[in-house]
């Protein structure tokens, strides 16, 4: 009886005590907004970002916000989302001067942009548009292949191979500002490999390879997100000996 009373008191306290606020602290969570732009298709794939976010939530300690967000570069809330995903499969209109300025400002001061060619073509019109945009964005800093020892390849998984739904280029490309990579460009349709439907199935079949390549694409996506959140953390001296030893063994396998 006594225990029953104690249980009731505890239960009542839970309900009638000072009301706790369990609101979702969205500000600290990882969000993956899809960048909206004019011309072409800014969102040719369904479920790509949701698929990646789900994998991030399942595999890492990063807390995510699942709701899809679409954002224009002129949106006043742009800086609330330091990570942007820009996908596309076709030619798009050149960004306005205002948009270029906003994106440059965004990237210079801490933002990160992942561009993903979802066209499945080796030389796509999207690729032409992206390179034209990159040239306007940072005229003095051309887009270049990401070095093999870049933190993106070791920020969570140890990655030796770059792939996607396609495998046009065995490397990622980047633009760095003051030693920090601010823009990563994948020509291999990473989004196509990540995309899942609500039932849990994959939305798109892999064109280059199979499930192994899909897993590698997911790992690369997670690593890119992890890099955006931790920067060169994995290049800290405390990590290096272990990582280098594992890389050596991994390559031997």
């Amino acid at each position: 009886m006594r225990y029953c009373l104690q249980f009731l008191i505890f239960f009542s306290l839970l309900h009638f005590g000072p009301s706790p606020v369990w609101a979702d602290p969205l500000a600290s969570r990882f969000v993956l907004p899809q960048l909206k732009y004019s011309g072409g298709s800014f969102k040719p794939l369904n479920g790509a970002l949701e698929g990646l976010l789900m994998q991030i939530a399942r595999r890492t300690s990063i807390e995510i916000r699942r709701e899809p967000i679409e954002l224009e570069l002129t949106d006043p809330s742009l800086h609330r989302y330091p990570f942007l995903y820009m996908g596309g499969d076709s030619k798009f209109e050149p960004l306005s001067e205002e948009e270029i300025k906003a994106l440059r400002h965004f990237l210079n001061y801490g933002g990160f942009l992942l561009i993903d060619d979802n066209s499945r073509e080796k030389k796509s019109e999207f690729d032409v548009s992206v390179r034209r945009m990159a040239e306007r964005l940072f005229p003095q800093t051309p887009i270049k292949p990401l070095a093999r020892d870049h933190s993106i390849y070791r920020s969570f998984y140890l990655i030796n191979r770059v792939t996607g739904r396609t495998a046009h280029k065995p490397f990622l490309e980047e633009i760095s500002v003051k030693g920090r990579t601010v823009l990563v460009y994948s020509s291999n349709d990473l989004g196509g490999a990540w995309a899942r439907n609500k039932l849990g199935g994959w939305n798109y079949d892999m064109i280059a390879g199979g499930e192994v390549e899909r897993q590698e694409s997911i790992r690369l996506g997670i690593n890119i997100a992890m890099y955006a959140l931790t920067l060169d953390y994995k290049k800290d001296m405390v990590h290096l000996p272990i990582i280098l030893e594992r890389l050596r063994r991994y390559r031997l396998q």
Partner: protein
């Protein structure tokens, strides 16, 4: 006899002269030569009508006498009463009182000054005999010349002056005896004047000596041979060192006649030996360079003492040790930054910390939890085990600041290591907890050692994380707090904080502990409840901070998006970290001296800034100073701070060496104590080459025709001769006018009146 006529004491004067002031005037002589004969002829012809020849002669005589008186008046005669004496010539005796005179002879161990005193004693009769014919004056000579009284000479003669410079001394001597007859000088010294180079006298000194009227006799105290000394001649060390980083001191040692032996050079701080090195002394080698390495273990200015052993028979014991001060500062701020999960807040903070060149950052991100399914083997992951054992046992004390950012300690840190963090803070470490869903109660820190050290109390039941968007509200009371100082000007600072971006998210269920300072809070709209956002306090010797949000990155990236600048985010974190690690500018008692080092007899100024806990000036507060001199007893001084919280303490040190200063104030929660110190150094450059120099002393004597004596052998002062030419002086003069007085004018008037009466009676007009 004549003196008495003029009411003067005849004994005071031994000579009388008449002075004619107008006698040299040719115009007067011309005037008299023309007017006197002409007038006399005129008078004589005007007396024609007087028949009586005697009467005529009498009148003429009267006229001649009157003319004589008039001429006398025109020549202005004066009587000069004189007392002429024979002058005594002077002899100056110069006694060296420079520091090198404290050097002791070997093996007798008698200082040169003592030798001089004994020489004066032995030759007292001779010196006294000189006073019969000469005026003998004594001086202390170094690079200055100071008169000395003969009676107090033995007590006054101390080897204290830092330099010897004979050229200056003789130049001053000449000025002093200008117009006087200095017929001889006796210089008693060791000849250790390093300004006279390589056995040659400088041209200036030679000029001074050649201008001397009499000879300069020299008396040497001390010997060149038998000088035995071990000394630290010079120390080269940087005034700043880095905490826990090796610093070096380079010492130049001198060993004269020390033979072959091994000695140790020891470096101490507050009596504790920090480093020591064995040096092999070799016969024939006098200079040694020795480098010692030490590690400053405490922040701030500290005194270090370098010592050599003192051997029997050493000429100078004082130069076997030297004090120096090194201010140790942090080369880097070592920060352990543990993140519970990757987030934008941790990403921007890591970037701020890592980009600060003064920071050494060790970051750990918890990238996966036990429940996460990585779908890969460990070898495919870059993750490393969290080295909690190493971090929270062996290496914890090496960090200046530990940051837990949105970090739940379990299962990564064993609960017992939380006590280590608590002890680390009590001993002077700094701890900062940044909010989020894994912080405070939600990180299970309530009722843990971490709650004890944090400035906030956690409600027993986790209340969660409030996601409201709100503007930071600073407590007016703490507007001068250094942790909030984005700008020096309070008004500009306040305006800056008002312009900062909104925050979103705050940990609830926290209340500030009684002595904690809530620098910023969030007033929940529509309620009276406010939540502490930024709370700080001093815990033990350390400091801790609770920042109950994980949205401070809004001050950076979002502020940039709003058209502002992110630099105040960096400034905010720099200030917060500076306060946490107790940088000097964040102390409420700050002390500085007006000089790095003081010389003997120099006044020391300690400037103190007294602030309240809220960093506003504390006026009229009593501060206790305990000054401990190198040898003496502790001196207690109490003084009150001024209106602006400033306090200047002037102190006159009485001896050389290191003075430690303990400054204390009484506070409600106990005493607040800071320590500092200062060095009063003596100029010991005299000791660098303190051997006696007989060659120099001989040369001085030879140049002036004087004689050279060496105390201890044939050192009788009676051997000295001085010329004694006769010199006179008018000691006393008195001048009496013979013309400018009433009786002369009266006599002249009388004569003219008598002349007139006789003329009238003789029938003349």
């Amino acid at each position: 006899m004549i003196a008495e006529w003029f009411d003067l004491d005849p004994e005071e004067f031994n000579q009388i002269d008449i002075l004619w002031s107008g006698i040299d005037s040719p115009f007067l002589w011309l005037f008299l030569a023309l007017t006197v004969p002409l007038s006399l002829w005129f008078f004589w012809t005007s007396l024609r009508r007087i028949s009586s020849r005697p009467r005529k002669t009498f009148i003429i005589m009267l006229r001649i006498f009157a003319f004589a008186l008039l001429a006398a008046i025109l020549f202005q005669p004066q009587l000069e009463f004189k007392n002429n004496q024979t002058l005594k010539n002077h002899i100056a005796i110069l006694l060296d009182d420079s520091k090198s005179m404290s050097v002791k002879s070997f093996p007798e161990e008698i200082s040169r000054t003592e030798l001089v005193k004994k020489w004066l004693e032995r030759n007292a009769d001779t010196l006294e005999s000189w006073t019969r014919d000469y005026k003998v004056e004594y001086f202390f000579a170094s690079d200055a010349l100071n008169p000395a009284s003969k009676k107090q000479l033995p007590d006054q003669l101390h080897a204290r002056k830092p330099h010897t410079d004979f050229e200056k001394v003789f130049s001053k001597l000449q000025k002093r005896y200008e117009g006087k007859s200095l017929q001889g000088t006796v210089l008693v010294s060791d000849g250790a004047d390093r300004s006279q180079g390589n056995g040659e006298l400088t041209s200036g000194f030679l000029e001074s000596l050649s201008a001397m009227e009499g000879p300069v006799h020299t008396v040497l105290a001390g010997e060149r041979d038998g000088f035995k000394d071990l000394s630290i001649q010079h120390i080269a060390v940087a005034r700043f060192g880095f905490l826990n980083q090796p610093s070096r001191v380079m010492a130049t040692l001198s060993a004269v006649n020390m033979g072959n032996k091994n000695i140790s050079l020891t470096l101490k701080q507050e009596g504790k030996i920090l480093a020591s090195k064995l040096i092999q002394l070799k016969e024939g080698q006098t200079q040694y360079q020795v480098e010692l390495e030490f590690i400053p273990a405490v922040l701030g200015k500290k005194n270090y003492l370098l010592t050599l052993p003192i051997f029997s028979g050493e000429a100078i014991a004082e130069n076997n040790q030297k004090n120096f001060q090194v201010k140790s500062v942090r080369d880097r701020i070592r920060i352990l930054h543990i993140n519970g999960r990757p987030s934008w807040d941790s990403r921007f903070l890591r970037e701020a910390l890592a980009s600060n060149p003064k920071t050494d950052l060790l970051s750990f991100f918890i990238l996966r939890t036990l429940s996460d399914d990585v779908s890969a083997s460990t070898s495919e992951l870059s993750l490393i085990p969290f080295p909690s054992n190493l971090l929270f046992t062996d290496y914890l004390d090496s960090f200046d600041l530990v940051i837990f950012q949105n970090f739940k300690y379990e299962p990564f840190i064993d609960k017992r290591y939380l006590s280590n963090i608590s002890k680390y803070v009590e001993k002077g470490g700094a701890f900062l907890m940044i909010g989020g869903e894994l912080s405070f109660q939600m990180g299970d820190y309530n009722r843990s050692p971490i709650e004890e050290i944090l400035p906030v109390k956690m409600a027993p039941v986790a209340k969660g994380y409030l996601s409201d968007e709100y503007k930071i509200s600073l407590a007016e009371k703490y507007k001068s707090h250094p942790a909030l100082a984005l700008e020096n000007d309070p008004e500009k600072n306040k305006a800056l904080w008002q312009e900062m971006s909104s925050l979103n998210g705050i940990n609830t269920g926290l209340t500030a502990k009684p002595t904690a300072q809530v620098l910023a809070e969030y007033q929940i709209p529509g309620t009276k409840e406010s939540l502490p956002l930024l709370t700080v306090w001093n815990k033990g010797k350390g400091r801790t901070i609770a920042l109950a949000t994980d949205s401070s990155w809004n001050f950076n990236f979002i502020k940039v998006g709003e058209g502002g600048s992110g630099r105040h985010y960096y400034k905010f974190w720099n200030q917060l970290i500076s306060w946490a690690i107790g940088e000097p500018e964040t102390q409420t008692l700050r002390v500085a001296t007006d000089k790095e080092q003081y010389h003997e007899n120099e006044e020391v100024l300690l400037k103190l800034q007294v602030l309240k806990d809220d960093y506003n000036p504390s006026s009229n507060e009593k501060i206790h100073f305990d000054i401990t001199p190198p040898q003496g007893e502790k001196i207690k001084i109490d003084q009150k701070s001024g209106e602006n919280g400033e306090l200047d303490l002037h102190y006159q040190p009485k001896e050389t060496g290191y003075y430690s200063v303990r400054i204390k104030r009484e506070k409600e929660e106990g005493e607040q104590v800071i320590e500092t110190g200062f060095v009063v150094s003596s100029d010991d450059s005299e000791f660098s080459q303190a051997q006696a120099d007989p060659e120099l002393m001989k040369k001085i004597a030879d140049t002036t025709g004087g004689q050279f004596l060496n105390i201890g052998s044939q050192d009788r002062a009676s051997l000295f001769n001085f010329p004694n030419p006769k010199k006179f002086a008018h000691i006393n003069n008195k001048t009496i006018s013979l013309w400018n007085n009433w009786w002369l004018y009266g006599l002249l008037t009388g004569l003219l009146l008598l002349d007139w009466i006789i003329r009238r009676k003789s029938g003349l007009s």
